[in-house]
Chain length 224, copies 2
């Protein structure tokens, strides 16, 4: 059971988030990698009002941060890559296999996620703004183009390269940003790819552990 | 002189781009890293209409791609990190120094660049769209917040960590996306940081080499 209050590895996460963010907050990515690698970790919970010193650990005041006996770092891409270097099941060690996986980690975070976040911005954060209504068709067209590129690359392969890596872990959690839409489902091989990742026992444990924290810390008077 | 038609390292780049993109296209990042490391490279030039097989090298049909005797990869974050592993001047080798640099590479590409690209989208790509006019104040506020976070982190340090790394290289090229605005100049330490990076001889050579290609391939009838 990786969540262990006495573990050397510590990550930060939110105590509670509204439903639209539950199962998406980025500590999920790190929890998933830790589960795949079977590494115990403890969780430092933060409220939406973080302690003033947190900005010295995480300049953007986001979660998660990561620390162990060797490093103190932030950014899920970097953390997941660091964990990958500890465990070949997450990241191959030969140069080509290693950098093909790292390239997909960057692609998910820089070539795909920004396009998908535009849909989230419009639909979840600004649904009633005039600009958001006018922008949505263009944002959707752009997101669809990016998804099509990933789908075309995948074809009938189970993973982006010849085995599961951190590139898939990050890409699949990026695709989850669109769970309130049918955009992924329009591409059956991409939908199957996301489902294949989410069916992994390590993902299921990571998700359950994130959601359990939110359930425990549900504010009085907030709907579940 | 790193640009060398007989080099083992090959990158892809555009033959020509309009002025708004000259000095921003992402092969600049890889050229800069190659110059810092003193590694010779050759350039494979592409038109805006890429050959049909290019999508098998770069699923998003962007530039640059990178290949040498050991790897064939895309995504500037991954390429620059790969080059960093060849040269400690780009990327420290101790775990903490190494992953602090990698964390900033990811932060520049995932926590900062998407916010700045919204300003580019509104100002450069859709200046006459009604949604863009309505969206600009909010996009500017969000970009300003991200820049402030980087500025606050920097304080009076010359670099993001205790020495120049690939994290600075990527962050500085990300800040260049806002060159048509005063947003970086509003934060004097951030402006000085960008200028400090751009003053490096390796950056200057990389920029000159990118611009020289565009000048050589200027289409007939296009203003310089």
């Amino acid at each position: 059971m990786p969540v262990n209050p006495h573990a050397a590895i510590e990550i930060s996460a939110f105590r509670w988030v509204p439903d639209f963010a539950a199962g998406l907050v980025r500590d999920l990515r790190v929890r998933w990698a830790l589960e795949e690698a079977g590494l115990d970790y403890r969780v430092r919970l933060l409220g939406q009002e973080k302690p003033p010193e947190y900005v010295r650990e995480q300049p953007f005041e986001q979660v998660p941060t990561y620390r162990d006996e060797a490093v103190q770092i932030f950014e899920t891409g970097a953390i997941v890559q660091y964990l990958g270097e500890k465990d070949e099941r997450l990241l191959p060690s030969d140069p080509q296999g290693r950098f093909r996986a790292i390239q997909w980690t960057y692609a998910a975070l820089n070539s795909v996620e920004p396009a998908l976040q535009q849909i989230v911005l419009v639909d979840i954060f600004y649904p009633n703004e005039e600009w958001a209504k006018l922008r949505r068709p263009g944002a959707e067209e752009f997101a669809r183009l990016k998804l099509k590129r990933v789908s075309d690359w995948l074809g009938d392969k189970p993973w982006l390269e010849d085995r599961f890596t951190i590139g898939d872990l990050i890409m699949i959690t990026v695709l989850r940003n669109l769970r309130h839409t049918n955009l992924v489902a329009e591409l059956p091989n991409l939908q199957a790819y996301q489902a294949r990742g989410e069916a992994r026992p390590a993902f299921q444990r990571a998700l359950a552990d994130q959601l359990a924290v939110f359930a425990e810390n549900q504010p009085q008077g907030e709907a579940a």
